[in-house]
């Protein structure tokens, strides 16, 4: 038995593209404060579902593109995404068997670490966060995780991405 052919690279790329568009959509009012980092969430999903394909290298490249797209310091999100990918790869065996709601708590921790890293770097280059609200997107991400998980899982099964 040889190893199974890897398929569905386009589906993965498209999911990252959609996440990028969602993350860049302007959201008004208080909802905007909770608008999650969709790209990081999609990265967590793929690291969890296909750890043999998606890992730190992909995370780093995606992070670099996010940096360029958002006008951040090059490497800022790359570093945060690599860390998130690492944490997911180390724990995916446990998280995978949780129900989506229990997964959401792990996702919250990953997203909090991501936000802290990104804003810590912002602070180093002269833009320290003025209050604790910068952590709110992680909470938004936790709430929306079950939805994203179900959508991506069904998409993965439908297109047989493995």
């Amino acid at each position: 038995m040889t190893s199974v052919q890897s398929t569905g690279g386009e589906v993965i790329a498209l999911s990252f593209l959609l996440a990028f568009l969602l993350a860049g959509t302007p959201v008004p009012g208080w909802l905007g404060w909770f608008w999650p980092d969709w790209v990081a969430m999609v990265l967590i999903y793929w690291c969890m579902a296909l750890p043999h394909r998606i890992g730190m290298g992909v995370g780093w490249l995606v992070g670099l593109l996010v940096d360029a797209g958002r006008g951040a310091l090059l490497g800022q999100h790359a570093l945060a995404f690599v860390t998130v990918a690492y944490l997911t790869l180390q724990t995916y065996r446990r998280i995978r068997v949780f129900s989506p709601w229990r997964q959401a708590f792990s996702v919250l921790i990953f997203l909090l670490i991501e936000q802290v890293l990104v804003f810590w770097i912002s602070g180093v280059i002269g833009y320290p966060p003025r209050d604790g609200w910068y952590l709110a997107p992680a909470v938004g991400g936790m709430v929306l995780w079950p939805l994203l998980f179900v959508v991506l899982r069904d998409t993965r099964r439908y297109f047989q991405v493995n």
Partner: protein
């Protein structure tokens, strides 16, 4: 035995990757190097160009829903709404035309007097219109991305204004996009003058779209709420005379030598859609040229 060899996918389930932490360390180190080079030495211009060009179409996709809504608003507006708007625009046109007549004579007079004084003639400024593509993800940093870049002649340092007043300046020009820093960014300050008294100071950003801070104004200075602030033209970045803000709060603290003065920007910085970029070249250079030209030879 070869028949029992598990697939990569299954193997991954049981064998912990022994080099994962090492890999993390390497990636983090690489990120640190990239960030340091980008922040300290600004030598990643080529990488920025490539990445921003790759990302460029995505910004347009992101704007699609907003654009569609605006288009629908404009095209599906009722007849009465359009007539009302038409009447309002015509009214303001008459008003501005009347003002413009005065301005034309004043400008002519100004130019004549300046030529008598042999000082630099203010060249008519060229403007370029640009649209907002994206705002910064970081709520504490006031940077915006515009849909014009080096290809359209944008250079670093160009002042950005809207129909009310100064918005900010360009800090990075990529091939098709440019990043501008707003005057309310905590790392931005611009030289201003209080229009009524002529007192010069700086307007520092606070990270709040509604507030500018005026440091170093003594307690006995004549400052009133509602005073207009205009650019002073010092520093050569911003042309003089453009409105910046109005004083919104004046607090005298007897224990401190300086008053605490807050101004509110006249431009609506949190709802920018279209901006104008001023050509900064002619304003920055002529005074020096004129100065050397009029110096009598020894």
């Amino acid at each position: 035995m070869a028949a029992l060899k598990p697939s990569k996918r299954v193997r991954h389930l049981f064998i912990v990757n022994p080099t994962a932490t090492l890999q993390l360390g390497l990636w983090v180190a690489l990120s640190m190097v990239v960030m340091t080079v980008d922040h300290r030495y600004h030598t990643l211009g080529g990488v920025h160009d490539v990445l921003s060009t790759v990302i460029y179409p995505l910004h347009y996709l992101t704007r699609l829903p907003t654009d569609a809504r605006n288009w629908a608003n404009e095209n599906l507006a009722g007849r009465t709404t359009l007539l009302e708007e038409n009447a309002r625009l015509r009214e303001s046109q008459v008003f501005f035309n009347a003002q413009l007549q005065k301005l034309t004579t004043l400008e002519a007079e100004n130019r004549r007097l300046r030529s008598l004084l042999e000082s630099a003639v203010n060249a008519p400024e060229r403007v370029l219109i640009a649209e907002l593509l994206a705002v910064d993800f970081d709520p504490y940093r006031h940077h915006i991305l515009l849909n014009r870049g080096r290809q359209h002649g944008i250079t670093v340092g160009q002042p950005v204004i809207d129909q009310h007043g100064i918005i900010g300046q360009i800090i990075r020009a990529d091939p098709f996009t440019a990043t501008a820093i707003l005057i309310t960014d905590p790392n931005h300050a611009l030289p201003i003058q209080i229009n009524r008294t002529g007192a010069r100071t700086l307007a520092r950003g606070t990270g709040n779209f509604q507030e500018l801070e005026l440091p170093h104004i003594p307690n006995n200075e004549d400052v009133k709420i509602g005073d207009l602030l205009v650019t002073s033209g010092l520093g050569g970045r911003f042309p003089p005379g453009y409105p910046v803000g109005t004083i919104s709060k004046v607090e005298f603290d007897p224990g401190s030598p300086f008053a605490r003065i807050i101004a509110r920007p006249v431009a609506q910085l949190d709802r920018i859609r279209e901006v104008m970029l001023l050509e900064n070249e002619p304003i920055a250079t002529p005074p020096a040229v004129a100065g050397t030209a009029t110096t009598p030879p020894p």
